[in-house]
Symmetry: C2
Subunit: 343 residues, 2 copies
């Protein structure tokens, strides 16, 4: 299986995030991708290639143009106001307030975001663009006939909405890839999100569309981030009615319970008649994850890969979360090895 | 002029707020009220009395019951989850997300707030209740015939919406007082907000009502917090159409320009036919304020007091912002001295 990877992520290196009322070192760090890459190489999963450059047009297929322009200019605007320290939003739009884009960068950050845990740094824009190119290169491998491919994206993407960032995500790499698959001719594409957190951004982007099925297994939002999306009664709207399926699961979920939800999810994907599958591959379902509360163990990830292979679809894996850094390579690549062995 | 004051604010002592991407010591601190009180006593403004206890019913006249209950229990819920460290929200509801109250305290904080600069501490609930009692006691003095009274509230209140907190504010003391004046028989009440920041909470609470006029002079929200409310085209809705007036002013506004806007504001209040006036008295319009960018000087505050006296209305002053701490007593009490001398 080919892995697509770019070093351009390393400059996205946030110092801190607001967590439990304190600024703590960022859980989402460059070492995460480095360790996944190392494991890919160690295990001989397959060749590693750099991304091709696609520009911003395929990004704007799923993200608002003003949002893309904001991200491009945010760091410079922040530095001009505050100096070269990571940017974090501190205020946002409450109910009863207006959706007006402020002139001031502090207001803009609040307008285009939904948490104070996602720093914008000197290297963020370069990293975000590269991650989109990595996802798009992966999609192209699938279009060209690969059975599976791995887009080793960093930063992750599944929390990013059409026009706002949060949850360590800026561009929604999985959504960009799914759209690219559609644009390359696949009539129906499914996105399966197995990160421990709801893929609120991906859901947001495709919620009114019937051509992209979004299915997510995640911690119940009444208990877990992102709190305000990911409930079971969110089934899509308009042309998208019936093309969104959420499987919220309680804190403490182990592989047995998680597996059962996966079976339902895969049945939905089969019934949908997808021609290609994009997997938002988060491994923060791991029992050792410092910010999540599921209880999957490392061998379970191999089993997940086998189950995904059995779906029989051309499959692009897009890297999402996973914060037990020392185990992230093992767990993520277990999924890919399980898939490769069974496909 | 009688000052109403309670020591119960001192336990609301936040350690830090998210500001310019860093956690910095809270600008809103107990010393602010202590120094205003000291200046009241030094200058012989008049007697200082403690608040009467009014309970929560008059608070619930302007705040949602679930919001009040949330504030009452927030500290205990936070400590149970995270330990005894100040609570700050870190994630919030983006467009496209749902307004569902989460079970988890981290989600609840985001649901009921609009910034990460307003810590909830061990003493917050006690302070917030006392501040409402201070405002209500001040309103009662006006009802009993005082020409002017000073509610030395802390924490401030004007940013607090019907059901969310932010901007150092939890209960909207000025709105609670204005409602109490209405409930005591005043047919029409005006609230004039002269804090450097828009009184978004007060506007929110009375926006659809024609019996309470809200008028605010403040830094233009395209440049300044709270960014998403306070524009000149916000004139009220429904029965409140025409009973809301915003005067946004640019960074750098000096007393000459500010005064001109005050003249317009006072003309609006006169035309409205208010029977009583509540003044949201922020002095962060001061040229030395560390977080604001207007250029008023200390003697200007005396002139403001004189101008307010000339409006000829029974007037309750409710303390709001002001973060040039060493000058806060001088500036706030200058307004009151100016009023008293001219009334
Ligand atoms: Zn996650
Ligand atoms: Zn203020």
């Amino acid at each position: 299986m080919i892995t697509v990877y770019s070093d351009d992520h390393v400059g996205h290196d946030g110092k801190a995030e607001l967590h439990d009322g304190k600024l703590v070192p960022s859980f989402e760090m460059p070492r995460r991708a480095a360790l996944v890459l190392a494991r890919v190489q160690e295990t001989g999963l397959g060749p590693v290639m750099p991304p091709k450059l696609f520009g911003l047009d395929p990004v704007r297929r799923v993200h608002a143009a003003d949002y893309v322009a904001f991200l491009e200019g945010a760091w410079d605007a922040w530095v001009a106001e505050h100096g070269p320290w990571d940017a974090l939003p501190f205020t946002w739009i409450a109910p009863g307030m207006r959706r007006v884009v402020p002139d001031h960068i502090d207001g803009k950050l609040g307008y285009y975001s939904f948490d104070a845990g996602t720093p914008i740094t000197a290297g963020t824009w370069r990293a975000v663009r590269a991650a989109a190119d990595v996802a798009l290169t992966g999609a192209e491998l699938i279009v060209r006939g690969e059975r599976g491919a791995f887009a080793l994206c960093r930063p992750p993407g599944h929390h990013a909405h059409r026009a706002c960032y949060g949850g360590y995500c800026f561009f929604n790499n999985a959504a960009i890839a799914a759209q690219a698959l559609r644009d390359a001719g696949a009539e129906r594409v499914a996105v399966l999100d197995i990160d421990c957190h709801h893929g609120n951004g991906t859901q947001d982007i495709f919620y009114d569309r019937g051509d992209v099925l979004f299915v997510s297994l995640h911690a119940d939002p009444v208990q877990e981030y992102p709190y305000f999306l990911g409930f079971a009664d969110e089934t899509g709207t308009g042309a998208g009615e019936g093309a969104n399926a959420n499987y919220p699961l309680p804190f403490g979920t182990d592989f047995a319970a998680w597996s059962e939800a996966l079976a339902h999810a895969l049945a939905r994907i089969a019934a949908f008649g997808a021609e290609a599958l994009v997997v938002s591959l988060g491994v923060d379902t791991f029992k050792g994850d410092p910010i999540s509360r599921f209880r999957l163990d490392s061998p379970d990830y191999t089993a997940i890969g086998e189950r995904l292979a059995a779906a029989g679809l051309p499959t692009l894996f897009v890297m999402e979360g996973g914060y037990a850094v020392e185990a992230i390579g093992l767990n993520a690549v277990n999924v890919l090895q399980g898939f490769r062995a069974a496909a």
